[in-house]
């Protein structure tokens, strides 16, 4: 019995002793400069996210099941991170032709979003395609609408540092652990 306790404590120690975790996170490349439109209809520059660690996801307002599930999970993260000035959440529409700023505002506010810290963006199909498909590799806007249910972590220098399942129970705890590491970085 006591041997078991010591083994568990040893495992605990091993798990908790690694330092500088941010450097160990993969780098999936930089997010290029972009200009889109926020849910208030104002232009939004990607450079506004400089110095922030941000979580991105790709949704569309008429999506039947996945986006409400993702947005409700994201809402929990949003509330958890309330009051942190160096963190942002950015939800990109992959259906920019139908998702007007007003539609995004209505969709976002259903989850407590479409605020200054949970931003909903739409734009030209070309911009959305560049970001969703070429940069983040999660969806193809110019073909049929499809998108990944993953949440994506981007560091202060606008580099993609992690992909996390919004369905797998370990996905969001892992995202929040890595978010902490990147905020300290």
């Amino acid at each position: 019995m006591s041997a078991l306790i010591w083994h568990l404590l040893l495992i605990l120690l091993l798990f908790t002793s690694c330092s500088n975790r941010a450097a160990k996170l993969p780098d999936y490349g930089a997010v290029p400069a972009f200009t889109m439109t926020d849910s208030d209809g104002r232009p939004f520059q990607g450079s506004a996210l400089a110095g922030k660690v941000w979580i991105a996801d790709f949704i569309y307002t008429t999506c039947p099941a996945a986006c409400p599930m993702m947005s409700s999970k994201m809402s929990g993260i949003h509330k958890q991170l309330a009051g942190q000035p160096d963190v942002r959440i950015v939800s990109f529409s992959v259906d920019p032709l139908h998702d007007t700023p007003a539609a995004l505002k209505q969709f976002g506010s259903r989850y407590g979003g479409a605020t200054n810290d949970w931003i909903f963006l739409t734009g030209t199909p070309d911009t959305v395609h560049l970001l969703a498909y070429t940069t983040f590799h999660v969806g193809d806007v110019l073909g049929k609408i499809e998108h990944s249910t993953k949440f994506i972590l981007v560091d202060k220098r606008r580099h993609i540092r992690g992909y996390y399942s919004s369905i797998d129970p370990e996905g969001i705890p892992a995202l929040l652990d890595d978010l902490d590491a990147l905020r300290k970085d």
């Binding site: 019995m1 078991l4 306790i5 568990l8 605990l12 798990f15 908790t16 409700s72 999970k73 929990g76 993260i77 949003h78 509330k79 958890q80 991170l81 309330a82 009051g83 942190q84 000035p85 963190v87 942002r88 407590g112 605020t115 200054n116 810290d117 949970w118 129970p169 370990e170 969001i172 705890p173 892992a174 929040l176 652990d177 902490d180």
Partner: protein, 180 residues
């Protein structure tokens, strides 16, 4: 991020959790105090030791899970807490199996140990009934990523669950010391 006054508490599972807990608690009271004894196989007498072991494992996982969330290691916290849940669930199965055959156990001790034993036993039993719905609710909000509610309710769930696990082990050893 900006402070928000969102209080959209998700109470969807509350009726199911409360109903399930009430059914299990009623079933256990009936099983232990009203059903009566049945002659069972010999290995049944080994189950209290297994129950104590499962309770100890649960308590160790709870403490490790708590330490890890204080250090903001959420993934490891989750693994320990899910392990604690599994150990407690296995305990419940083993406990029900034991009491299907055995009924309640009379405490033969006398003197100062008697009120101490019954204080521990009665708080253990009553808090275990509270612990079950608390554990289910805490787990539900974690899996829904409603971490604010998860944290608020976990402040109650953790000490109660830990107390129930530890006193389960204490009851086993006190009974063992006074019955052999």
């Amino acid at each position: 991020m900006a402070q928000q006054a969102t209080s959209d508490l998700d109470l969807k599972p509350a009726p199911i959790i409360l109903a399930l807990s009430a059914v299990i608690a009623t079933f256990l009271i009936w099983l232990i105090y009203f059903k009566g004894k049945v002659v069972g196989p010999e290995w049944i007498s080994e189950l209290p030791a297994l129950n104590a072991l499962l309770n100890s494992l649960s308590a160790i996982c709870l403490i490790c899970g708590y330490i890890n969330i204080r250090r903001r290691r959420r993934v490891i916290h989750m693994r320990f807490m899910l392990s604690a849940t599994v150990f407690s669930a296995l305990f419940l199965v083993s406990y029900i199996t034991y009491h299907y055959f055995h009924g309640d156990t009379k405490f033969p001790g006398h003197g100062w140990i008697r009120p101490v034993y019954f204080f521990i036993l009665i708080t253990h039993i009553s808090l275990s009934m509270v612990a079950l719905p608390l554990i289910l609710a805490t787990l539900w909000w974690a899996l829904r990523s409603e971490f604010r509610f998860h944290k608020k309710i976990a402040r109650f769930t953790f000490p109660i669950w830990l107390y129930v696990s530890v006193t389960g082990v204490i009851v086993f050893f006190v009974l063992k010391a006074y019955t052999t």
